[in-house]
């Protein structure tokens, strides 16, 4: 049961990264690829009807984590207090930037909301990447299963890490660039004209950088947390995840060369998903590893909520998530197709 919930939560967060990832990515690349007001509008239209639905996966994933593994929720959320609060502020600023931009006609305000949209999207990507790297590296858990991390220390991993050290910064940079590529491929898929051409061109330039950092992340992870490979050694099929990463990267490269927009974007979806599944496989059956001497790892077994809770939860969760997938699919289907260059205003 615990293993099942581990993968349910991992799957929900993966869906979140794949979906909200592209609209975060659009925010990151938007100042670079959308030059005219017309193109900015086109880029905004591409994410307009779906971005808030994408963000729901974060909230629903967080809620699921809370109910299935209360101990993990309590420990990690209070431990990462400051960065999580900053994430909240960034989510607020970003949601408002998108909403406000659509309500103003003054170019000064539009420029301002463009800037806040870019900054909040980029910082969110960095924070999410760094957060995942923190979990992989481990935190100094106390005997009571709680911890509190300073924002930065001497940039070294080891018994007394900070939230930002060389490894988590690497995680942040990887997330920033990977989501930027994801956003570029989405824009290429959803737009026409100059915006489409520029997005593809930037994606081709970004691809080799991603390939290099992805390759570097493997030895880096083993240095930061040698235990990462234990599960891989015990269960050979876990290697499927890194294999998928390589296949996805190759797919993206090939599709970019052949101008297959759909395949390139799908490649990027699979790339993000397999990176995350690979990380989850490296953690399993631990949820939050400890570094230092005092505490012990928070494992699935220790953090799982009571048996009745998780049994009943499985029934409604299955039912609810099927409905959720149905709604999301309907919205994506209704707003399918490319955004034309000359979009007229309508809206609410």
């Amino acid at each position: 049961m615990g293993t099942l919930w581990f993968w349910i939560v991992a799957a929900m967060l993966t869906v979140y990264v794949v979906l909200d990832g592209f609209d975060l990515g659009v925010g990151i690349v938007y100042p670079f690829v959308a030059r005219t007001e017309q193109e900015k509008r086109q880029a905004m239209h591409a994410i307009g009807p779906v971005w808030d639905g994408n963000e729901v996966w974060l909230i629903a994933g967080g809620g699921t984590l809370f109910f299935a593994f209360p101990l993990l929720y309590a420990s990690s959320f209070s431990g990462f207090y400051l960065p999580l609060t900053i994430v909240l502020w960034l989510l607020i600023v970003r949601g408002l930037s998108i909403e406000m931009r659509s309500h103003t006609h003054d170019s000064v305000y539009k420029t301002f909301f463009d800037a806040t949209f870019f900054l909040s999207s980029a910082l969110l990507a960095v924070f999410f990447g760094a957060a995942l790297a923190n979990v992989i590296r481990g935190v100094p858990l106390g005997a009571d299963d709680y911890f509190f991390l300073p924002l930065w220390t001497d940039w070294r991993t080891g018994p007394n890490p900070g939230i930002l050290d060389w490894y988590t910064v690497l995680g942040g940079v990887l997330a920033l660039l990977a989501l930027a590529l994801h956003g570029l491929l989405y824009l290429a898929l959803k737009t026409t004209g100059d915006l489409n051409a520029r997005s593809s061109a930037w994606a081709r330039r970004l691809w080799p950088v991603i390939a290099v950092i992805t390759a570097a992340s493997v030895p880096a992870t083993v240095i930061a947390r040698p235990d990462s490979l234990v599960h891989y050694q015990e269960h050979g099929f876990a290697w499927l995840a890194p294999a998928m990463v390589v296949v996805s990267l190759a797919t993206i490269m090939l599709s970019l060369a052949k101008r297959w927009e759909w395949r390139a974007f799908l490649g990027s979806c699979f790339y993000l998903a397999s990176m995350l599944v690979g990380a989850a496989a490296g953690l399993y059956p631990v949820l939050l590893p400890t570094v230092g001497s005092e505490g012990h790892d928070i494992t699935i077994a220790r953090a799982l909520a009571g048996p009745h809770t998780v049994r009943v939860g499985l029934v409604w969760w299955t039912f609810g998530i099927l409905l959720a997938v149905l709604y999301s699919a309907t919205v994506y289907w209704l707003f399918r197709g490319k955004v034309p260059e000359h979009t007229e205003g309508y809206g609410h």
Binding site: G48, L58, F77, L82, L88, S102, S328, E344
Partner: protein, 457 residues
Amino acid sequence: MDALTLHRIHFAFTITYHYLFPQLTMGLALLIVALKTVALRTHDPDQRERYDISARFWARIFAVNFVLGVVTGIPMEFQFGTNWSEFSRRTGGVIGQPLAMEGVFSFFLESAFLGLLLFGEKKISRKLHWFAAFMVFLGSWISGFFIIVTDAWMQHPVAYRLMPNGTYEVTSFWGLLMNPWAWLQYAHNMSGAVITGAFVVAATGALYLLQQKHVEYGRIFLKVGVVAGIISCIAQIFPTGDLHGKYMARHQPAAVAGMEGLFHSTPGAPMVLMGQPSVEKQTIDNPLVVNKVLSFLIYGTTTAEVKGLDQIPRDQWPSALPLLFYSYHIMAGLGTYFAALMVVAGFLLWRGKLYSTRWILWPILLSFPLPYIANTAGWMTAELGRQPWLVYGLMRTSEGYSKHVGPETSLFTLLGFLGMYSLLSILWIVLVYTAIQKGPKAPVVDEGHDAHTLTTA
């Protein structure tokens, strides 16, 4: 200030601010469905057009408030973990369930159908568009239900058992959802949300009629607002408020004694209409009372004894007693005023004089902020009444906060939220004010946010 106080202020501030938005969106969602229903059922094309435009106008206002509700709502989920980690660790196996259900059942539904409601009018049929409005309404009301189930478990814990490691687990899923406290509180809370929606819609109508602008819409708004207002204001007092009060008196006598300022057990207890409670002297200063009414309201007889604070151990008294007393009296006083105003307006509507009677249009216009105050005071009554318990009778508030998060850190993020939310308030006022000034028929030049495919429509 100590860490506990700061964590409490932190949560109280962010949740009070958050609830300014859902109370309007939950109420408006119902009124939008009502407008869409009239539009769908009428055969007169002019009439239909006017109701459709009205629904579209309020859907736009809904959207602004919805976005603010979402962005201020995410911090609430996070804060259970960040600021109240010990509470989350121990009760997550119970309250995590309704919170996760809210995410899975309600948010997906709301976000998907809100997109359709706002962007899909020309892409889907009239009936499907009505359906989208209905699903948005359903989603927002389901969301409210799960939140109240969560709060009701803290007010009146049911269907739980204590596990060996000190955490709580649900023993019956249906027991948790069928908590009687939850249903009473839900009915009372939702009629409060409809009151906010009705007053905002009616006030906008009154403004248009007083300004002699958008007059035909002013009439529609006023009519819909007053009809919904009468029903919800009366339901708010009887039966929902009455039943909730009686249930509370049985299960949280300390809270009721605090709300009423009843320091001593009294047979034939009076109802205090006004006064200033003094915890030190254990009296009410300058009291204005109606004899025997409290006993009658709670027990149905004028002679029954109502339990006073003297029968409750001092360490279980509500910790902010005067604030609890005032919150309750503001809520009840305003509720009475709302019902009176709406009944008079309803009478004038029935006699066909409402639209031209300026002396009633002015109070309707000026009263729109009051439901926000009443709903906030209502929540403060519920939550202050629960103190000093975090989970009534099981866990004290002082046990639940994040002990590893110091007061300095909590103060810092509290200031951050204060700053951020003051900016939000300015943006909100500007947006809503502009939308109302432009009126329902304003040409929509909004772009960037909407759906590209609509251009083909």
